[in-house]
């Protein structure tokens, strides 16, 4: 009676991402070509004790708003399997 979900948190457009920039530079130094830019985010794999998809989505939305994302600078995306 569980279901799995994935929450992806990314920086909003326009928010400077120094870590992404550093990774971008490192890829260039490895001669990996064709990479225009890199933005770093976070992935949370969550197991829920429900099989109700809309219930799962509302729990995760609450989790994102209260903790997983700082909505001043970050967007989140919820995918329920």
């Amino acid at each position: 009676m569980t279901m799995k979900a994935r929450v992806t948190v990314t920086l909003k457009n326009g928010v400077l991402d120094p870590q992404g920039k550093a990774i971008e530079g490192a890829l260039k130094s490895l001669a990996i070509e064709g990479v225009n830019s890199v933005r770093q985010g976070k992935v949370f794999d969550v197991e829920l004790d429900t099989i109700d998809k809309s219930r799962a989505e509302s729990v995760l939305k609450d989790a994102c708003e209260k903790l997983l994302a700082n909505t001043v600078i970050e967007n989140y995306r919820i995918e329920v399997a």
Partner: protein, 232 residues
Amino acid sequence: MKAAVLLFPGLNREGDVVRALRQAGADASIVWHADHELPAGTDLVVVPGGFSYGDYLRCGAIAARANIMDAVRKHAAGGGLVLGICNGFQILCESGLLPGVLMRNRDLKFVCKMQHLRVERNDTVFSHRYGKGQIIKVCIAHGEGNYVADQPTVERLEGEGLVAFRYTDADGNIGGAANPNGSINDIAGIYSANRRVLGMMPHPEDLIDQLVGGTDGRGLFESLAQFEKIAA
């Protein structure tokens, strides 16, 4: 002046904050994060620096959701004084007591050094023992001190005089290499709209003894110890 210094797992600056408050004549005690209430008669809550919860998720994010923070929000809503230093500033931003967020430093380095600041105004409970525009030498030690807020918020902070301190060089010059972390408008600390909540990245509590490099941090704690001089 009765001060409550909060302690979360991973903070490490609480002892120095208590020492600085007591040196200035304040009564200071440490309050554990899992408590639900502040001690009766608390005038000031200090959230000190360190690495609460190992900086997991985002700096200050987990501490900002601790039990005691509901009491701190209530205290602030009633006009009570709150000071957040370094990780404490990050916790105040994450808890919604101050706007904006502290991002990774511009150069991705943890910066640990002496740092000069300009005192932007000296008519607040936190700053009345300084001169207006005075350049003080304190220190910084952070990896995520790059203050960011959206444009309307920055305009409001500037327009309402809510920038408390700006980074400068030793001569008081602002900008360029004087800004250690890329903070917008060289912001080192900000006030809430009523100027009763202050968040700052630098550590005034480290500069209270000539033995360790200076005493410019004392002014902030002496201001707080005599907070009644500034009308609420």
